[in-house]
Amino acid sequence: MGLVIIVFFLSRLTGDPTSLYLPVDASQESRDQFRVIHGLNDPILVQFGRYMGDLVRLDFGMSIRRAEPAIDSVLRGFKWTLQLAFITMTLVTVMAIVVGSLAAFRVGGVFDRIATFCSLIAASAPDFWIAIVAIVVFSVNLGWVPTSGTGTPWHWILPVSVLFIRPFGLILQVVRGSMITALGSAYVKTARAKGVGDRSIIFVHALRNALLPVITVIGDQAAGLLNGAVIVETIFGFPGVGKVMIDAILQRDFAVVLAAIMVTAFAIFVMNLLIDILYAVLDPRIRY
């Protein structure tokens, strides 16, 4: 409710959308007609009351720009964002845990140094630059993958790869740090004394205990992707919710802005719930 109120009134502060929708040369008569059709002539509180009334019936209103229900625009984009976020975060999580755990096993070794160096680079990499360079190298020069768009599995390679880099760097660092602590614990020493193999020590004994802070970071990164990977979506022409939301903000398409924020807020709420449940699964001491 608070979110709706804030976004509703903040979005109205950006001004009247009429000037953005009608041509510069449009007559005052046309502008007046436009305001009447879209209810923009009414006092702001009347507009808010009407919006809340519709919202109770899960009616998010009509997109001025697209002339369709705002929720349709948002859900169409959200479907793509959800897939992109899921694929990316799955790959990131698996890779970061494996590489981070192995790096932590021999701290200061060659593998650890390479992994640490790469994670630092990846965590600070500007994705817009990587995206353009990747297109020039892998699409234009080598012709291996499509530059952009959707349609085949090959179209997912560049967007997922570019989105992969930064969360991978961040999560790898957290996994490594957390695993170093876990591997120095008394229970790991005990396991070693009992002759447990390295693989079991890393992936069975230490990892489970090291995962709690990792899951928190994974949640943060996933929330960022669910909000829409705007730059990557824009460059690769990926029709996700981030691009829908940014376009709607720039075009003052208020109904779409509100619908997009409500949908992503709900998705993040669900994801946080799942993370809390996962905490309890991993650590039996945690009870809600």
């Binding site: 953005l20 040369d25 449009a26 697209r66 297109i135 020039v136 530059t147 090959w154 690769f236």
Partner: protein, 501 residues
């Protein structure tokens, strides 16, 4: 290890095979700079909507050709019947893609629809504001159209009106346009693509292109890369820095004119010497080939040089800072408040390097001693400065603007920009009002001469504005196509004009 190597090689081979464009020769892919929110033909005056719809799906009854002038399209002929009425004879045997025949009733409905208050079509608002249109159907293929006030260039104005079937709704946009054009609107997968295919029952010449796909990428570098990689055939409107391949990239006048609109209603801008100083203070040539593209022309009028009545004898104001300082000193000596702070207002993202352009202009003005500051604003706030009525509590303002006129006649510009009642005018000059009204009412050579006089009066006598540049645009075209973009590519992209080498 051998298996792993084979897997890598196989993956690369498969990827290459999948991404190589294997499209048939008769299919083209066009990459636009934005996703289309609306595809209704009555919005075809918007650049990217026009590039999909105009003359591909929906045709007009007349058509403006940049080199040949006004030509018939759905109308075979037209005649001035006097008192603002023109009679149009439609081409017989024309069918819409839904199988119905084109009749005068469809034309009447299309004209009513662009003025429908329920949908606020851009064509109606942009080209027919303040004008009443009435239609009288004489027979199936003959229609009288009356404009009030009378429009001597009504046939030219009608080159902007897309004709839709009489069944098209008056209160909502259509999402699958039906027209008489050489292509049929097949599919719009929102966020992904639009597909057109050739209309098998088209009444005119069969185009070489059999189908077209439109995709949307907002980043210019990606659009250019798509053509370079063979994924797209045409990328209209790429940025200067991406137009680096002589074999694929075309530059052409894009019908946009950049100028500084002066507000004559208050000091110091109401003094002609100050306005002359503003013109002499700028080194226009220094922008070309540096901040702006090579080929950019220095402007002396509001419309592109190809427009009827453009006065080619006018020359841009010379860069003469000393003269500018002398003019300001002279005005100051006569009591004009030349030291008043002037706000220079620019529109963000209006064209490539607009910020750099505005900062350079500001520096040049400050160099001659003007008390000026720069404010860059986004479009909605910019419109509040640019369009009448202006804020009551404003100070002297100079507003940067870019104006598009690809329609071949100054009438599309002059009333809005210079008449006292014009929406964006900074001038209130009865003599100029008379000249615009007079030129608007004339035809033929008289019209051309009157517009030339009007341009001269604005540029030399009134010194109404600071005219800057006629801009150029860049498009990238795949070398397999026989197609050269032109000034019209700014507003349409006729697939029937595309050939294959």
């Amino acid at each position: 290890m051998q298996k792993f190597h084979a897997l890598i090689v196989g993956t690369i081979f498969a990827a290459t095979a999948c991404t190589t464009v294997l499209a048939a020769d008769s299919t083209v892919t066009i990459v636009l700079s934005e996703e289309l929110d609306i595809v209704d033909p009555c919005e075809a005056s918007r650049s990217n909507v026009g590039r999909v719809v105009l003359q591909n799906i929906s045709e007009t009854i007349t058509e403006l050709n940049p080199t040949e002038g006004l030509k018939p399209r759905l109308a075979d002929s037209w005649e001035d019947k006097g008192d603002g009425t023109w009679q149009f004879k439609l081409h017989p045997g024309v069918m819409f893609s839904d199988g119905t025949s084109l009749t005068a009733d469809d034309v009447a409905h299309s004209l009513a629809r662009i003025k429908s208050p329920s949908i606020s079509c851009e064509i109606g608002a942009k080209f027919f504001g303040g004008m009443e249109l009435t239609s009288k159907i004489i027979d199936d293929l003959t229609i009288d159209i009356t404009a009030d006030p009378a429009q001597p260039i009504l046939p030219l104005l009608l080159s902007t009106v897309t004709i839709v079937p009489a069944e098209s709704p008056m209160d909502s946009f259509v999402d699958k346009p039906i027209g008489t054009g050489p292509f049929i609107f097949d599919e719009y997968a929102r966020g992904q693509h639009i597909k057109l295919s050739a209309n098998p029952n088209y009444w005119g010449e069969k185009p070489a292109v059999e189908s077209a796909t439109y995709v949307f990428r907002s980043d210019s570098a990606v659009r250019a890369a798509m053509v370079a990689a063979g994924e797209a055939d045409i990328a209209p409107n790429i940025a200067l820095q991406d137009a680096v391949d002589d074999k694929m990239d075309y530059s052409y006048p894009n019908s946009e004119t950049v100028y500084l609109r002066l507000d004559h209603s208050m000091e110091p801008l109401n003094d002609v010497r100050v306005r002359q100083a503003l013109n002499h203070a700028i080194d226009r040539e220094a922008f070309v080939g540096t901040i702006l593209a090579n080929g950019t022309l220095l402007a002396t009028g509001m419309t592109p040089p190809s427009t009827i009545g453009y006065n080619h004898s006018l020359t841009p104001y010379t860069f003469d800072p000393e003269k500018a300082k002398a003019l300001l000193a002279e005005a100051k000596a006569d009591g004009v408040a030349v030291d008043t702070e002037i706000m220079l207002i620019g529109r963000t993202n209006n064209f490539g390097n607009v910020l750099e352009t505005m900062e350079a202009l500001l520096a040049m003005y400050q160099d001659v001693g003007l008390n000026m500051n720069l404010k860059m604003v986004e479009v909605a706030e910019w419109l509040e400065h640019y369009s009448n009525p202006f804020a009551e509590d404003r100070g002297p303002e100079i507003v940067e603007a870019q104006h598009d006129n690809a329609n071949g006649d100054p009438v599309f510009s002059m009333f809005f920009k210079y008449a006292s009642e014009g929406l964006q005018t900074g001038v209130r000059d009865p003599a100029l009002d008379d000249m615009i009204a007079s030129a608007t009412a004339l035809t033929g050579d008289d019209r051309k001469t009157k517009w030339e006089d009007t341009f001269k009066y604005i540029h030399e006598d009134l010194v109404a504005d600071v005219m800057l540049f006629h801009m150029v645009g860049f498009s990238r075209v795949n070398t397999r196509l026989d197609f050269a973009p032109s000034i019209r590519t700014n507003s349409e992209l006729q697939l029937s004009q595309i050939g294959f080498k």
